[in-house]
Amino acid sequence: MTRALKINVLVFVLLFTLTLPFPLHFIQHPAFSYEHIFIWLEQGICSVIGFNCDFQGHLYSDSPDLLVHTFFLVLISPLISWPLLKIRWLSPELLNKLYLLVCSYTLAFFLMKYGFDKVFKHQFYSPEPNILHTPFGKLDKDILYWSVMGKSYSYSLFSGLLEVLAGMLLFFRKTRKLGALLSFGVMLHVLMINFAYGIEVKILSSFLLLLSLLILLWYRRELLAFFIRENAVICRPEPEISLNFRLKRLIRFTLIFYIFFESTFLAFSTANFNDDNYPRPKFHGAYAVNGEHMLLAKELGLKQGTEIKRIFIHRQAYFIVQTAEDRFIDFAFRYLPGKNGIQLRNPQKTELYFQQNPGLKLEFQYHNNKQRVSLNKLAF
């Protein structure tokens, strides 16, 4: 790989990582402060060249904005790299080391973040009751995949540990080759899932696969000799930067420590190390509706004659009704402090109260009269 190409790759990787508003918990990603500047700039370029870019104002997963932004970075990277070519202190050794370290640590950061999310069951969470009561054929591929993954703790733990292991191997010179190979396998699998199941992390997972390929490219001679030519493998020594060895260690330790801390911060700060066992909010669950429910349908503003089969309380404060035709209608709600009830965020601000005695009932107001619907809590 030529010097120009290496600098170009380095600039692109840094720009992409620093401008991607990736949610962080310990510190806020700086990209949240300047993503609008990029969008504004890219919008201007699109209008100048007369191309209709479908901007929505945020660089979120697979949005048209993120796609245009990525192309924009590909285009401007050579322009930024060009003056760097002539910098004298950027020796070949330093450039090679930076290339390897930036690619490895960036990839390791994302692998550890997603890996620990899976280990703690934060990513593929246990499916919500309304999803479990939806006919299989009515679910889209992405939510279906997410839910099936969410049903197995052991698989989530296994895939998470694999990602964490790949990330950890990338930190150290002696294990980096193995880490790159493992990361390549993991990321290829993730990318295929994202494309095959229509999950909206295609651009980021393509970037991570590219990073693992860029690291493997550095070790191509050793890998080809070992796997294909079956020759004796002579490992090329990694370039060394002429810097005080204690300072180098301090920088490396700080980076590794930060990556570990950011990846596990949410689990430790909420003491949630297995989301399957984490307590769910009040009333959370699925309920079968018995008997008279037409008034509830009317109160909720549903079409006349709508038959409500089940109701659900979603973990993120949604009241969901399932009709006899398996249509789902959701209402955001808030808990009523100090009362056994919720208030829907619909125009009528419907208040619903759960009564335990006698039998489980849902009480609501209809035309100044209190109405009740009998419920049966369903297992899920």
Binding site: H122, I143, A271
Partner: protein, 141 residues
């Protein structure tokens, strides 16, 4: 018993890790009525939801959510005077900004509870300094 309940009510909403579209389908079932702006989650990752809290008069507060929505709540159980401001801050993510709380009320004198989040930072600092001193000052081979 009340504190853990409040804590999980708050965090239970922020522990989901998903893309915006999956967040939407999780409660609506389909992508009809989907609006990306309504969800802070991104790239299959969790995002903090409540950005700042402003105290109004009459024990009412406004919660400013990450995706531009505001929510005004009166007589919120945290803000009726039974918790000190430091206690209330423990119920929210560390990045949450509190506006208009200076010297208003919350003067309840209670034995300071264990600062879970602060102790986490302290533990991290100790681990960092300890680890760094061992790793950095280890003699070179």
């Amino acid at each position: 018993m009340r504190t853990p309940l409040f804590v999980f009510l708050l965090f239970s909403g922020s522990l989901f890790s998903q893309t915006k579209l999956i967040a939407h389908k999780s409660h609506s079932g389909s992508d009809a009525s989907y609006s990306a702006d309504a969800y802070p989650d991104n790239f299959g990752e969790i995002a903090p939801r409540i950005k700042k809290i402003k105290l109004l008069k009459n024990n009412c507060i406004v919660e400013f959510l990450d995706w531009g929505q505001n929510d005004t709540v009166c007589d919120h159980p945290y803000f009726t005077g039974q918790y000190t401001l430091d206690e209330i801050k423990r119920f929210y993510p560390s990045s949450t900004e509190f506006i208009g709380f200076e010297g208003k009320f919350f003067n309840k004198v209670v034995a300071p509870p264990a600062e879970k989040k602060n102790s986490l930072y302290l533990l991290a600092l100790i681990l960092f300094l300890g680890g760094a001193s061992i790793f950095v000052f280890k003699p070179a081979k």
